[in-house]
């Protein structure tokens, strides 16, 4: 991760940050962070509680005031305009939809089309098609006429995921997207992410579940606002770094062609 960010590398990366510094509530959370994430890959951001994962993701998405330089597909977000930014990067946050309880699921997903619509124009045929496709892919088309507040936590999360997919942006940033999802729908989410990446899209997700994180193409390990390690998920060096960042209290083990994280056996 110590490689200098040369200009060609920046333009080849989907998301890059240079000398990124973010303070929240007067306290510096991230100070002087450099990062480059490749296009067409799924990167999972993991780290202990309070390490600054969500702050990093929000700063990359341009949702927090920050110092330093962030580039999306080699472009500066401020050069894109608000709607241009909305079309390039889709954001799925966590626990922010409390005021939307009275909105119908279909209306919520249609909001994902905002960056594609004129301020007063009615939804176009492509808008409707994108909404239906996103809702069918996340399996929530059947309750499109139900209000968000009437749905269970997992059902609501699928509607919100459909909202993020309906943007059809090449960059998809998700903070804890698996919250409230049961195992079958977590598996569905995995397939959605892989499909997005297969079509050249880039996914960055903050994940608490380390086993799901190990399904990603690459890991970024965050500790105390710094990048502790960045590497491929099948690289043993990444596994050792993962154990280190979690204080040697977890162990990465190989199972078939995959990797799982288990609680480490105490030496004592």
């Amino acid at each position: 991760m110590s490689t200098a960010l040369s200009a060609p590398l920046i333009s080849a990366s989907a998301l890059s940050a240079r000398a990124l510094a973010v303070a929240r509530g007067g306290r510096p959370v991230i100070a002087g962070l450099d990062l480059a994430l490749p296009a067409g890959r799924w990167t999972a951001v993991v780290g202990p509680n309070g390490a600054g994962k969500t702050t990093l993701l929000m700063a990359l998405a341009g949702l927090l005031p920050c110092q330093g330089e962030v580039r999306w597909l080699g472009q500066l977000p401020r050069d894109l305009g608000t709607r241009g930014r909305g079309r390039l990067l889709s954001w799925l946050g966590q626990g922010e939809e409390g005021a939307a309880a009275d909105l119908l699921a279909h209306d919520v997903v249609m909001l994902g089309r905002l960056p594609h619509q004129g301020w007063l124009a009615a939804p176009s045929a492509p808008d409707r098609a994108a909404v239906e496709e996103a809702m069918r892919r996340t399996g929530c088309w059947d309750w499109r006429h139900r209000a968000l507040g009437e749905l269970s936590g997992g059902e609501r999360q699928r509607v919100l995921l459909a909202r993020a997919l309906a943007v059809q942006a090449p960059l998809l940033l998700m903070d804890e997207p698996l919250a409230h999802l049961d195992p079958p729908h977590q598996a569905d989410w995995l397939h959605l992410v892989r499909a997005h990446v297969a079509t050249g899209g880039t996914v960055v997700s903050v994940l608490h579940d380390l086993n799901m994180a190990l399904q990603a193409d690459a890991l970024v390990l965050i500790d105390q606002g710094q990048i502790h390690h960045q590497g491929a998920t099948d690289d043993p060096a990444t596994h050792r770094a993962l154990e280190a960042v979690f204080d040697q209290r977890v162990a990465v083990c190989g199972v078939d062609a995959s990797w799982v994280v288990l609680p480490a056996q105490r030496a004592r």
Binding site: L89, G93, E96, E97, G98, A99, D107, V167
Partner: protein, 332 residues
């Protein structure tokens, strides 16, 4: 907008328009002399016609328009602050508006029942400035809109303090006390044709700007970060929406005084009947608010006839009861 059987916004809009028309007819028929249908043939004398044309019609239309403004202000406030309990009253803007009017009356000695154009505009302007000041003060005390509880507490504090300042002005200047007293209680009794014009001229731009920002309000319901990521210019949108709320609240308060709860209840009733996006919620809340305040106005003329109940007293009692019911129906 997907129409669901029985929950179509258009059906609700039609019902609310019909209710408004029926209430205007009732408003023409009810007065201090009791019920009298103007189109019944028994006494078509000119005095009666003057009462209808110069008093009851502008009063009924004005009450509807003021209610519509309050309903719109409530819907905007609830969307803007992402809080189902937001209301021009709970955010300090109504008490700010009434303080603005009190200051203007104290400074110029205008009677609040002024029927000329210029004083009406002056009172509305003072109310608008006061409403804007009240909301901004609340926002400054709450340090932003993130903390729901802090926002409501700050609104209550601002409301109480500004209300106290208005009372202080009343005490110092007994000559405007009589006019202001009715005003502080909330009254539809002063509404004339000039008031109707000012109210209508305020409602049109407030509704147009609010509708233009309807999608921003929808996106805001998903959270600030999500709204920003969808390309909603948060700062300018918020500023415009605060201005719309202050204009709607100020115009209504300048004409009918402190009428509580219409702004809170109207959007709630609409949401009970349908689950609209803001593009439908905003005009429906205006229609519902108009019907509510006009119904309260008709009732206030009728329950104690030939005496008249201040309409603000009636809406406070009914609105308080509604809130109580809401509190028991679902945990807040």
């Amino acid at each position: 907008m997907n129409a669901i059987p029985g929950r179509s916004p258009w059906l609700l809009a039609g019902l609310l328009v019909l209710a408004g028309l029926a209430l205007v007819a009732l408003g023409l028929a009810v007065g201090s002399t009791g019920w009298h249908w103007p189109w019944s043939a028994d006494a078509p004398d000119t005095g009666q016609a003057a009462i209808l044309w110069e008093i009851r019609l502008p009063r009924s239309l004005g009450a509807w328009l003021a209610g519509a403004l309050l309903g719109l202000a409530g819907a905007v406030a609830q969307g803007l602050f992402r809080n189902p309990l937001a209301d021009p009253y709970l955010l300090g803007s109504a008490s700010g508006a009434s303080l603005g009017v009190a200051v203007l009356l104290a400074a110029t000695g205008l009677p609040s029942a002024a029927t000329d154009w210029l004083p009406q505009l002056g009172i509305t302007g003072a109310a608008f400035a006061g409403a804007l000041g009240g909301v901004l003060l609340t926002l400054a005390l709450a340090r932003g809109v993130q903390q729901t509880l802090r926002l409501l507490l700050a609104g209550v504090i601002v409301g109480v303090v500004l209300g106290a300042l208005s009372s202080l002005l009343l005490l110092r200047l007994p000559e405007v006390m009589r006019t202001l007293q009715g005003f502080m209680l909330g009254s539809t009794g002063f509404l004339g044709w000039s008031a109707v014009q000012v109210l209508a001229l305020s409602l049109v731009p407030a509704l147009v700007v609010a509708l233009a920002l309807a999608r921003a309000l929808d996106a805001l319901a998903l959270g600030e970060a999500t709204a920003l990521s969808l390309g909603v210019p948060l700062g300018p949108a918020r500023g415009l929406l605060v201005a719309v709320m202050a204009l709607a609240t100020g115009a209504a308060v300048a004409q009918v005084g402190l009428v509580a709860f219409v702004g809170l209840v109207a959007p709630h009733l609409v949401r009970l009947a349908a689950r609209p996006t803001h593009r439908a919620l905003l005009p429906l809340s205006a229609l519902a608010g108009g019907a509510l305040l006009l119904a309260a106005d008709v009732a206030s003329r009728w329950v104690l006839a030939p005496q008249e109940l201040p309409v603000g007293v009636l809406t406070a009692v009914l609105g308080g009861g509604y809130l109580l019911w809401l509190m028991h129906r679902r945990p807040l």
